[in-house]
Symmetry: C2
Subunit: 431 residues, 2 copies
């Protein structure tokens, strides 16, 4: 494609007429394509159906420590589930608490506990302070930001660089401002950029000096096993790094099988120092007698160990990878060289992050919607739903079929071009 | 048995020596009998094992409205689960929200929402008020009280009468004190008394004038289908009564299948006015993408409708009833006529509530523990774990076998007699 920035107004107008014709062709098709959320496709969910045959009426539902998984008890999970997640997160089983089916709920409840009870026995509950701030590497995950908004935690945007959050910015802020109590991180195949934090970033996060002594990092390792190809990213172990840096209580790590087994019916877990977990357990005991142990058993008996899960994840990749390829191919064909858009090529995760020219994302998402393509709301990847440059669009390729995806991305590219041309013409720099 | 109150000191001493001998016989047996919690027995859990065979790898896991239950979505439950719980609670499906596996967690989170966000869009969050009080009919459920204690909600003891909480006391307090914002109720087969609220009590709770306009009753209908015999109690529909009384938003009802299917792996639900539910849904959407829909489907396909559940509950009763009978028989043989203890004979639920002479319960529970019988901690059935008369002991007969139960209750009766005799002798009224 041509570099649109250098085209004359006449050329741009001519191009626009062509694109407009194609766009109107799509309008008449009354399409209905949803690419708004990072949901697995039915084919991916089929991969775990064997799990349903595993526990039968004549099976023994005892856990490794002899607990009847059908009865009350087991506040923080059965031993074999802890062990499995310990392998996934590269920690000790003693550093694992198993939750219900949602790591989002675990993170929500954890933030709430920090607000209500503080970060430890002798710490002030954050909710009693006049201001509490969280650092929010952005673009990021809208549901993280929604938790902060819900509880009046002020969000501070941190720029995402190629190897993770801008650490200069982070280190300066946390060293100066005591009201900065927390930070959201999706450290591997980040949502939506697909970036994995470099070892240096992990080291600096673990060892940086923070003015707040009860500073906590919510480490949402949602995509830790979700590789797309044979050159997966490697993330340095954050809990081990924090311990080595003398800050063992700094990180609270979360993951789940939501995009491994069944979304919404998986098993979630958190990992942190034993000190942190002991503190949280006391509060958990008030909220619950314990999460669903039968579902834990079902997962452990199906997945057995990390090797089996990794093989399972290759099957997921075999389904998702072609979808990412379609998106990247079309973006390449339609937009590369135009200077009006840039995007990432992740090794894993669930998203492709597309950046348009400034002030174009909202218009693009709205134009695509008119042609029947639902994208994640523009701005959603930033705190308060406000993208300061209005340029980031999150593409979630996993759910639609390849055919639907092709059409949807072609429409998206059309919209990016048309909105950009309008902008260029309005700015009048093209002569 | 003789009326101990009227025995002479010499007679009491003689009796004590006999009892002491029996007690020491038990000590040498080094028993280990746990009657501390209301847990179903393995035989009861076996009743639902067929549920595990229901969803298989080649099954369609779509809900009634076409949702793929294996994927994200469905914040408040699938339609068929709402319908089933609507029948259980005698409400409309629109008045039902399905939760995860724990109604305790739903109640905990609901109280927290009321503290953080208030009882409606324009209401003051209770947590912003200097004092918040809950009425606590007592003896009651320790986990309810633990929630209040956790969040600094002041608990006010309400006496339990034969037909429910003392309504004179309740009406007076709520009409005078605006800081009374809530009330805990286990309205059917109450924990631990096994009392079902009379129609008059339900009417008065629904229609009483409260100084706090955002007063809420947490209606924990945990034992709604848990009858022990063919003369079950009937509870008047509280949501309908509140609506009729012009207070549709007053009640928040909860139930679950924890003691119907699997404890900890069941399905929980809440019911309230649509107005209340709409308000809570907004906050729930921040905490979760939705509870486990596969488990909902499993339950709905197994239980089908209310009739099937009711038949299923008869099988539970057939297992539990003989256990209640053993306890009641032994209490009758050992303690009736002694004037040192009284107890209830419930038509359902999970507990027998035993009342000793004042200031004896702690000593009895501790003596029983020394002989290897673990009972619910004395005081646990009252706010802050403090029974003002130190006389209530909760007996949970469901879990132990009949043989274990017989031994445990014989030991319990021995302890009640010995502690009572010591008390009577110390008081010196027996000449």
């Amino acid at each position: 494609m041509n570099d649109l920035i250098t085209l004359s107004a006449v050329e741009l107008n001519g191009l626009y007429v062509n694109l407009q014709e194609k766009y109107e062709g799509y309008i008449t098709q009354k399409l209905k394509l949803d690419m708004s959320r990072g949901k697995p496709s039915p084919e991916q969910l089929d991969l775990s159906m064997g799990m349903l045959d595993l526990l039968k009426s004549d099976d023994n539902l005892k856990s490794a420590d002899g607990m009847d998984c059908r009865n009350y008890g087991g506040l923080d999970g059965i031993p074999e589930a802890k062990e499995l997640f310990a392998h996934i997160l590269e920690v000790s089983p003693k550093e694992v608490i198993i939750g219900g089916s949602s790591s989002l709920s675990m993170m929500h409840d954890t933030v709430l506990r920090l607000l209500l009870h503080g970060a430890g026995e002798n710490e002030i509950p954050w909710g009693k302070l006049p201001t509490v701030k969280f650092l929010c590497p952005s673009p990021g995950y809208d549901r993280h930001f929604a938790i902060c908004e819900q509880f009046n935690i002020e969000m501070v945007i941190i720029n995402m660089l190629k190897d993770g959050p801008d650490m200069e910015q982070v280190e300066k802020l946390v060293s100066e401002d005591e009201s900065i109590k927390g930070m959201w991180c999706v450290p591997k195949y980040s949502n939506p950029d697909g970036i994995t934090y470099s070892d240096e970033v992990v080291d600096r996060l673990a060892s940086m000096k923070t003015k707040a002594r009860d500073f906590r990092i919510i480490w949402d390792d949602a995509y830790t096993l979700h590789h797309l190809n044979n050159t997966p990213d490697k993330l340095k172990n954050m809990l081990a790094t924090c311990k080595a840096a003398g800050n063992p209580d700094r990180v609270l790590m979360f993951t789940s099988t939501s995009k491994i087994s069944f979304s919404g019916s998986g098993v979630a877990a958190m990992s942190a120092s034993e000190n942190n977990l002991n503190f949280f357990r006391k509060q958990m005991a008030i909220q619950s007698i314990g999460p669903d142990k039968i579902n834990q058993l079902r997962h452990v008996r199906f997945f057995k160990n990390l090797d089996v899960i990794q093989e399972h994840m290759k099957k997921h990749a075999a389904i998702i990878k072609p979808k990412f390829d379609v998106v990247l191919d079309i973006l390449d064909t339609e937009l590369s060289g135009t200077q009006i858009a840039s995007w990432n090529k992740p090794n894993g995760g669930y998203f492709i992050s597309l950046n348009t020219l400034d002030n174009c994302a909202k218009a693009v998402v709205s134009m695509a919607a008119e042609a029947g393509v639902t994208l994640t709301k523009a701005g959603a990847t930033f705190p308060y739903g406000r993208d300061p440059h209005d340029k980031n669009i999150r593409i979630a390729p996993s759910y639609p079929s390849l055919t639907e995806l092709r059409t949807a991305i072609e429409i998206l590219c059309l919209c990016v071009q048309m909105v950009s041309i309008k902008k260029l013409l309005a700015e009048g720099n093209n002569n």
